[in-house]
Every structure is written in C-alpha cells, then in structure tokens.
C-alpha cells in the first residue's frame, strides 16, 4: 500500500541513518546541506533510571500532524526535501526513537527547519511516552514547559 504521506513514517522497526539520508537525497544534485536529528532513549529521566520506554500514538492523526509540521517548514524555508520517521512500541536505553532529516541548498535553512520540526513535533504530534523505572514501576512522562517555550520561539 502506498502511504498517503511518503515523507512521514510511523514504524516499529529501527531505521538506518545512512540509507534514509540516501533516499532523501536521491535525484537532487543541488543539495549542499543535510541536517538530521536523531532522538534516542536516555537511561535516566527526572533523576530516575529508565529501563523501558514505551511509545503510544494516535494512528491517523499522527501522520496528519507530522505532515502539517513538515509542510509548514517547507513554507518557512527554502528546502529541497525532508522526512520524519517516528518509531512506536517498546524501547531500551540508547535505542533510536525519531529521525528528522532536511536537505537544502544552503545550510542555514536546513538547520532552522530541522530544529523547528522537532520543536513542533514535541508539542503537536500525538505521541505519549511511558517509562518503566526500577522495581517495575511505570509512569507516563509529563510534558515539559521547556518544550512549550521552545515551540513558542518559532511563532510568527
């Protein structure tokens, strides 16, 4: 089945940075800059050890929300190509969770766009994290004020 948003992937599987970037750049000879962000599972959060991180999402809305953010980035900056991959399921520390990659002719646009997409994703895409702590206790991760502030810096 052809996905409706080819540059958005919600998947259980891990991703390979080199091959994702190669796919992104394919066919473009005028790209001079590729900025990528990879989010990974930290073994600590709020002062407690984290052994398992679970990611839940809202199928259907997630893809739509991410595509909206991606297109907004293309409207704000001159970009050649971009992609967002977000994994769901159960993860261990140092596992990869998310990839945002942006290709442009000049570096500044790719830097700003990648940062923008991540800041918006953090506050606008329907994903939720649940942590397993020592002894098997679980807790849902709280949203951060700092993430909301990071988003608001991009307000036009």
């Amino acid at each position: 089945m052809k996905p409706s948003f080819p540059f958005i992937n919600i998947q259980k599987e891990d991703f390979d940075l080199t091959s994702e970037i190669a796919t992104l750049r394919q066919g473009y000879k005028n790209i001079g800059a590729v900025v990528s962000f990879v989010g990974t599972v930290r073994d600590m959060n709020e002062g407690e050890n984290v052994s398992i991180l679970e990611l839940e999402h809202y199928p259907g809305m997630t893809e739509k929300a991410l595509e909206k953010i991606r297109l907004e980035a293309h409207q704000r900056w001159k970009l050649e190509a971009s992609l967002i991959i977000h994994r769901i399921g159960q993860f261990s520390p140092s596992d990869q969770i998310v990839l945002v990659a942006v290709a442009s002719q000049h570096r500044e646009n790719a830097f700003y766009a990648t940062h923008f997409i991540m800041d918006y994703l953090k506050t606008n895409a329907p994903f939720w994290k649940k942590e397993t702590l020592p002894g098997g206790r679980t807790r849902w991760v709280d949203s951060r004020v700092s993430d909301k502030e990071a988003e608001q810096r991009w307000a036009t």
Partner: protein
C-alpha cells in the same frame, strides 16, 4: 453515532480505549459534561482537567468545537513524543 478515543494515561484512568455513542451533542463541551455524569474518574479526567487535549477528526479542537454524526473525537493528555 460518534466515535470516541482515549489515549495514554486517560485511557488507563478511564479503563477505556474507545466507544461509540449516539450523536446527540452539539459541541465537545456538551459531550464532556455528559461523560462526566458517569462520576469519578470521568469528571476529574475530562471536566476538571485544564490540560485535557481534544482532537476532532484528527485536528486539534477545543471544548467549543461543534460535533456531528460520524465524527471521531479523541481525548488525551499533552503529548510527549520525540
């Protein structure tokens, strides 16, 4: 009918993933007030909860958003992905 979805700790708190209800509410707010009549934890999670997030048909919505038959309405806590 309307289709209602619950996510993350709301889903766990309410012990409910999704449900279908008759389309008898004009706005999200009307629906929430109706759900709150189920008592706790519904009232606390849906009405006395200033951080409640709402989506109607996959778009972020508010308590004032109008709803109609066939709509998919989701309730969830602030998002924490990435």
């Amino acid at each position: 009918m309307i289709h209602i979805l619950y996510f993350a700790h709301l889903r766990e708190r309410l012990g409910q993933t999704e449900e279908k209800l008759p389309a008898i509410h004009a706005t999200v707010s009307d629906l929430l007030v109706d759900l709150a009549t189920r008592g706790e934890p519904w009232k606390e999670a849906l009405v006395d909860n200033s951080s409640l997030q709402i989506a109607v048909n996959h778009d972020i919505a508010s308590r004032e958003t109008q709803i109609k038959a066939g709509d998919e309405i989701a309730f969830f806590p602030p998002v924490t992905g990435g």
